[in-house]
């Protein structure tokens, strides 16, 4: 137990220590760091979201550097990369959750379908209804299970009467694979569920408003393998109706659930490509180091 932990740590350290070294001796096409090109094809045929030249600053700190990326409709795309590289930051740009951080500044263009989401005419309320979010730590409201799921439809006025709302709540719980477990306890507080159940409740809450895109920031990091497997299964099913962006630290998870993978490094989008290709044949040295470091 402890030896594997130490090994992992060493591997991780190695991966992180390679930060500067490989950049100098890198044999890949990246030579000018300031004018970096992302390796791989950032565009897709059928994009749901299009990001171009996105920069994010926390005060003076440049957290996301000139990132361009397409997110295809009905695909699951995984964001991977070492801790602090900006995965969450970039993810939170996509539904403007960064607006809540006073020192955070975003430049560049992000489009959802044809709307520029940072345009003045776009209301964040509407945007966040279209781009839902599931957080790293399950965060159900301290209200009943029913109220948790009903909250979104209620504030957006999606239903006309109680019966409709009941149906919507049940359907959402059903799609989140939670209905069997909570059928008899709709009135109990959402916080009384187990961690994995809470996370699925949060997913049910997110899909109850029928968003177009779902952002997931390490949704399984607080869960055990069985709960994780359930959520991964769920993501696979949800792909039919939604576009899903998932941040994960688990390479296996990225490989299992996603079709495309994007590798971030210190605020740069280093490489993006089909998940199979990224994991079997990474083109960039940094990607390769990260992946092999974790696997090796």
């Amino acid at each position: 137990m402890s030896t594997t932990a130490i090994e992992t740590k060493v591997a991780l350290d190695q991966a992180l220590n390679l930060d500067t070294a490989p950049r100098k001796q890198s044999s890949v096409e990246v030579t000018d760091y300031n004018n970096r090109q992302t390796v791989g094809n950032i565009t897709v045929d059928n994009p749901k979201m299009v990001c171009r030249g996105v920069n994010v600053y926390y005060g003076e700190k440049h957290a996301i550097k000139n990132v361009g990326l397409d997110i295809g409709a009905n695909e699951v795309i995984a964001f991977i990369g070492p801790s602090g590289c900006g995965k969450s930051t970039f993810l939170r740009c996509l539904n403007r959750m960064n607006d809540t951080i006073p020192i955070c500044r975003v430049t560049g263009q992000i489009r959802l379908d044809s709307d520029d989401i940072y345009d003045k005419s776009i209301d964040v309320v509407q945007l966040r209804a279209r781009v839902g979010m599931v957080f790293q730590k399950p965060n159900p409201f301290p209200k009943s299970i029913y109220e948790n799921v009903a909250y979104g439809p209620r504030i957006h006025g999606m239903v006309n009467d109680k019966a409709e709302l009941d149906d919507l709540v049940r359907a959402s719980l059903e799609r989140a694979g939670l209905i069997k477990e909570v059928d008899k306890r709709m009135g109990e507080p959402g916080t009384s569920l187990s961690g994995g159940q809470q996370q699925r409740l949060c997913i049910a809450r997110a899909i109850a408003v029928n968003p177009e895109v779902i952002l997931m920031d390490e949704p399984c990091s607080a869960l055990d393998p069985i709960a994780t497997a359930k959520i991964e299964e769920l993501i696979d099913e949800l792909r039919e109706n939604y576009t899903i962006i998932i941040v994960t630290h688990s390479m296996q998870q990225a490989a299992r659930v996603s079709q495309r993978t994007a590798y971030f490094h210190l605020g740069d989008l280093i490489e993006v490509g089909d998940t199979d290709q990224i994991f079997t044949n990474p083109k960039h040295k940094l990607t390769e180091d990260y992946i092999t470091g974790r696997f090796g």
């Binding site: 539904n95 006073p102 945007l127 966040r128 957080f135 965060n139 301290p142 504030i155 916080t191 997110a206």
Partner: protein
């Protein structure tokens, strides 16, 4: 249990294992811990001792005030005195000489009393309230007129003090408030079972009075009630709204920093300053009446507001950010996030802070002295505009009076005040426990 430690102070070889190193310091650590626990215990015992001392003193002095001496007097409701024309006219009944009935009853008890001085001493055994008591009874049951009844009448404060053993009978007659012949009569009455101590309902039903046996805290209680009601109605909504605005909506810049510093400073301003402010603004500028609970409430609101704002902000910041993120992530607007999630979670904390602020306001007297709530007021206030006083000020007023009977009433009033304080703090604790949530 531990292995013998190596001699302390020996140069530590670098390769000494962690167990030895820790063991070497263990004794000192345990000793430090033990000492700290002792200091804590001593501090707590000292504090407790003072609290016990205070309570013992106040209760010891105050509890006799909850009992009051009554004298059984035979009263003839003489129709010739009360209602000479037999019409039962309320006006006539109101103006009738009830005191004469009391005097006659006393003479009947002690027929031997002779002369003006002796008779005055005899009549002085019962309170002047006895006549009012008879009036009240007649109004209630007019059938009493013409009847004879043995009634328990309120004894005067001096008799009460004597019966409670607070007058030294051995003192010379000129040095005590009660005459020799009066003591003799009281002794006789006691022997005949015609003196009794009853629960002192007057304390809770009367306003202030110059006669100790007729003085009560009802007026002060109602004054406190009206004042606190105004304080709560003003300071809680304003304070809560301010806290919500500053914490959730205000931009974080130099102005809000300045406001924050000022609010924190206001919480530390001596309360009498607020009293002066109230005098200058509410009474002199706006022309509101002096001594009115409305003005008292306004002044106490000024004093309580910063406390409520600070407590409210603390309660709001303690709501975990994950709840806010969850709400915003669902597409809730900021107002919805606050209204649906943050405020309900922060409410118990806000209420707790407010109740503690209100408890402080309840015990406040200095600022109210400034706005004239310190007057001698007999009538129980019936509105926010009636002149009134409050409990702590009543205590202050009574504590200044020389009569022994007022000393015990002062302590009794303190007990009532403390009871309300404990009640309010208990309520605060209950609220906190009741609504404590895990998230």
């Amino acid at each position: 249990m531990n292995k013998p430690t190596p001699a302390a102070g020996a140069p530590a070889p670098l390769n000494r294992d962690i167990k030895t190193i820790v063991n070497a310091g263990l004794k000192r650590r345990h000793a430090a811990e033990r000492h700290f626990r002792w200091y804590g215990l001593i501090a707590i015992s000292l504090g407790l001792a003072f609290v016990v001392l205070m309570f013992a003193n106040i209760i010891g002095k105050g509890y006799p005030a909850f009992w009051q001496t009554y004298i059984q007097v035979p009263i003839q409701f003489d129709a010739a005195v009360l209602d000479p024309d037999g019409k039962r006219d309320p006006q006539t009944l109101a103006n009738a000489d009830y005191a004469a009935l009391v005097r006659a009853g006393m003479r009947q008890l002690f027929p031997n009393a002779q002369g003006r001085l002796e008779l005055r001493a005899l009549y002085g055994l019962v309170s002047s309230d006895a006549a009012h008591e008879l009036h009240r009874r007649v109004l209630q049951t007019p059938a009493l007129i013409g009847a004879e009844q043995e009634l328990w009448l309120l004894a005067s404060a001096n008799v009460d003090t004597l019966v409670k053993g607070n007058i030294d009978r051995a003192l010379d007659e000129s040095e005590r408030p009660i005459k020799d012949n009066q003591i003799e009569w009281v002794n006789k009455l006691q022997a005949a079972g015609k003196i009794e101590k009853q629960f002192n309902a007057i304390l809770f039903s009367n306003g202030d009075s110059r006669e100790p046996e007729q003085a009560g805290i009802r007026g002060a209680l109602m004054g406190s009630f009206y004042t606190l009601l105004v304080t709560f109605l003003l300071s809680f909504p304003i304070g809560a709204a301010t806290a919500v605005y500053l914490e959730e909506f205000a931009p974080k810049n130099r102005w809000t920093d300045l406001i924050e510093v000022n609010i924190n400073n206001l919480a530390a301003v001596p309360s009498i300053v607020f009293g002066l402010l109230g005098l200058a603004v509410f009474i002199n500028f706006f022309g509101l009446p002096r001594s009115a609970p409305l003005v008292g409430g306004l002044v106490l609101s000024l004093m309580t507001l910063p406390v409520i704002i600070i407590a409210g902000r603390a309660a709001l910041t303690s709501v975990p950010p994950s709840i806010r993120e969850a709400a915003l992530g669902m597409g809730a607007s900021k107002l919805q996030m606050v209204g649906h999630h943050v405020l309900p979670l922060a409410m118990p904390g806000m209420l707790t802070g407010s109740i503690i602020g209100m408890a402080r306001a309840l015990g406040e007297s200095a600022p109210l002295l400034m706005i004239g709530m310190v007057a001698f007021i007999v009538d129980v206030p019936k509105s926010f505009m009636d002149p009134s006083t409050v409990l702590p000020v009543q205590i202050y007023l009574w504590s200044d009076l020389p009569e022994r009977a007022f000393v015990e009433r002062t302590s009794a009033a303190i007990m009532v005040l403390l009871a309300f304080m404990i009640l309010m703090n208990g309520l605060a604790i209950l609220l906190r426990k009741r609504f404590e949530r895990r998230w």
